[in-house]
């Protein structure tokens, strides 16, 4: 029997936004279909409808010719659908095998859980995928990448014929992405239907067969991957040509004196880290996930304790006891994990933007509401945040738009930043806005300030930064200029001991 998934006329409205309207397309078994579109285009909403999390206002889903009615995630799972969200859904305090067989663990004749059978069946699946994971390990102790693999194995165990991924590679390093793609190819060979959402075009070309492009909640184009190119995709997605992002960057080439000097820095995670950053310079920090880049940023910002060595900022030794002092000294850190360390999800965009500058927007005893609104409007315009109002709760924004809110916060015009540290700032951001962010970085350097740019996407960090520090296991393993750097050489430095 033919396997396929079809969306027919799906519509969904949220207060103030029509998230989806009249979405119809089809996806066949044995194919990987990319869902592509700008931030807020409606990709995640469509996947939430597919997983039974959200109910559409109009339209429906057809699987293998049969119309489906999902009123809860359970219905979708029964119909053979697994959606793997960007936020992990595992139970951290349970073992890998318990997670994979959650709710359907094999029983002994006495009715207790048959641990032996459970372990064996789990091991079988793990072997099939060739992963170095133990069935008894606690899920919460695995790296993000392996947690994601466990979710895929869970979907596999359920025998789901439709598996959807929402920006799965955002938290992964290149080597891990390779493993993920092997898994996806295997799922495809078995004739399953795979939906794939990502803002990284190179991945789309590597792994997908078909592409469905959404724009402003509408379905705009259906393409065959082998018969299209980046230009066409961007044109369909953004509605205009944005050209070669990196070549078009207006860079700064005037370097000033030394702004930041890190000498033999030691923290709980870092060993003997040294580098300098000059005024007007964009310094990239490259390395695999866990290499210690975030820890460097946190130590400078006063969020982690410095155990040895020295950090000099504008010629003076600094060792802030809390981020407040760093902010006052002119250092801003836009953190990597937006849900955990960045956003106050239940508060509005406006309140999130002004967090670090509350002391600077006062009128007498009170906060100056007009100044606050002005800052929020500015951020919305600067990063093209899609929202009906500045007072919208951040939680209700799409993932990429949430990321833009944090960027907006740390680059708002009341900040008096001299050193801007950006930790994975483009995570989940669409191509059009990425170009804006790169330009913002260069402009900021152009004003005579310094930027530390941390990114796991090699192409980006190599092409935007003037100089790249490569790290591995809490140490610096390389210091190269943009001219010298190639993806191969930087990757080699990131992996050598």
């Amino acid at each position: 029997m033919e396997q396929y998934l079809e969306f027919t006329g799906i519509g969904k409205a949220y207060p103030g936004v029509q998230a989806l309207r009249d979405i119809s397309f089809r996806c066949d078994g044995g194919e990987v279909l990319a869902l592509l579109g700008e931030n807020g285009a409606g990709k995640s909403t469509l996947l939430k409808i597919l997983s039974g999390d959200t109910r559409p206002d109009e339209g429906g889903i057809i699987i293998d010719g049969r119309p489906q009615q999902f009123s809860a995630p359970y219905d979708a799972i029964k119909a053979g659908v697994s959606v793997i969200y960007q936020e992990r859904q595992l139970v951290p305090a349970m073992s890998v095998m318990e997670n994979i067989f959650l709710g359907e663990q094999p029983k002994t004749s006495l009715g207790t859980i048959d641990k032996k059978a459970l372990r064996q069946s789990t091991q079988d699946i793990i072997d099939k995928f060739g992963l170095p994971i133990r069935p008894d390990e606690l899920a919460g102790r695995l790296s993000v990448a392996y947690q994601q693999m466990v979710e895929i194995m869970k979907a596999y165990r359920r025998n789901s014929k439709i598996i959807a991924f929402d920006e799965p590679t955002a938290p992964l390093a290149d080597a891990e992405i390779a493993i993920l793609f092997d898994l996806i190819r295997r799922l495809k060979e078995e004739g399953r239907i795979v939906l794939y959402v990502s803002h990284r075009l190179s991945e789309i070309f590597r792994i997908t067969d078909k592409i469905a492009v959404l724009k402003d909640g509408r379905f705009v184009k259906y393409l065959t991957t082998s018969r299209t190119n980046e230009q066409e995709l961007i044109q369909a997605m953004v509605g205009r040509d944005i050209g070669d992002t990196y070549a078009n960057l207006r860079r700064n080439d005037k370097l000033g004196d030394v702004l930041l000097e890190v000498c033999n820095l030691e923290t709980e995670y870092l060993r003997d880290v040294s580098f300098t950053l000059r005024r007007g310079e964009v310094l990239g920090l490259a390395g695999l996930v866990g290499a210690g880049r975030t820890e460097v940023a946190r130590a400078i910002f006063g969020a982690d304790a410095i155990l040895g060595g020295e950090i000099r900022f504008e010629g003076e030794a600094i060792d802030f006891s809390e981020p407040k002092d760093a902010i006052e000294a002119g250092i801003a850190l836009c953190p990597e994990d937006r849900k955990d360390q960045g956003l106050v999800l239940w508060r509005s965009i406006r309140e999130n933007i002004t967090m670090p500058v509350l002391g600077r927007i006062r009128k007498g005893l009170f906060l100056d509401r007009a100044a606050e609104e002005h800052l929020a409007e500015e951020a919305i315009a600067k990063y093209a945040i899609r929202t009906p109002s500045i007072n919208k709760i951040v939680r209700e924004l799409s993932g990429g738009n949430q990321q833009k809110v944090i960027l907006g916060r740390w680059t708002n015009s009341k900040m008096t930043t001299k050193l801007l540290i950006l930790d994975e700032p483009t995570k989940g951001i669409d191509v059009g806005t990425k170009a804006e962010v790169y330009q913002m970085i260069c402009d900021f350097a152009g004003e005579g300030f310094g930027v530390i740019f941390i990114s796991s996407e090699l192409t980006e960090v190599i092409n935007v930064s003037d100089r790249i520090i490569v790290m591995r296991n809490g140490r610096v393993t390389g210091d190269v200029t943009r001219r010298e750097a190639t993806e191969e050489s930087v990757l080699a430095l990131a992996m050598t001991d």
Binding site: P15, F301, A303, E322, P323, K324, I327, E328, L333, P335, D340, Q341, G342, L343, V344, L345, W346, R347, E351, M355, P356, L358, G359, R362, L365, F366, L367, R409
Partner: protein, 321 residues
Amino acid sequence: MEKQSYMRGVVRSPMFSLLILFAALVIYFSAASKGLFLKPKNLVNILNAMAISALLTQGVSFLMISGKLDLSTGANGTLCGMLLAFLLQHGTPVVIALPVSLALGGVIGLFNSVLVNEINFQPFIATLASTSVFTGFVYVLANKKAIDIKNPVVLWLGKGMIINYIPVSAVMALLLMVVVGVILHKTKFGRQIYLVGGNAKAAMLSGINPKKLSYKLFAICGVFSSLAGITLAARLQSGTIAGVTNARFQGITAAVLGGISFGGGSGGMGGAFVGLLVLSGFNNGMTVVGLNPYWQTVASGLLLLFALALDVFRTRRNAKA
């Protein structure tokens, strides 16, 4: 369309359902008490009770919005009321006795925050334990009997009336409530409370010090508790051993009913006020219709449970939407 969805928002909002509940209570109790419930004399009783609960609610709201809690507010207030009576009895002038008693509340709050911030106890556990410490001090001070209060200034605070019908204490409590509402919504300090309650890590990385804030909030909560205890002592004309000890849950009940979640980061004085109306109306109504006091205790407990269930329900619905 716009207007319709606005109306729907109002109807679905927790305040609206709470106001409906309040109206229902008023109607029921008026009928069941043959109109006694709405007699001016009874309304004064309601206002009097409301004053005490309002003070406790305000204190604990600061903490709850920041994601913390204080269960010792009642014991704190009782001790401070007792201290005031004790000081006055021993001839301390009121201008000293009153501030000292209020300050004791603040010190007790700081003590709680040391337990929470330095020893890392859960606020729930820490303040549950410290409750018995403070209650113990009440016994020590009282030496088995209540201490009379005779100072006219203090008595005016507890029993005074403006144009015969409006208790001074209620006016004070409600005015303070407006001030607290303005602080929460219009000042940097208030905003920081919401941000820390919403995501303490993010707040810290944005230059807010959650620990410092927590010290301030525990102290503020302590002062409000103290004021509640003092007000009750003044009304009863004596520092009593029971004091406001059992009223601590009233403050929490009103706050939670009004939408201040245990999770932190949400709610405000508007909601808390409606919560107070429901709570005070409910408690008073039970007395007016002559419900046996034991059953009243059961009913108060059930109201707290109802409030807690409401909080769980709201949190869950929000997590889903």
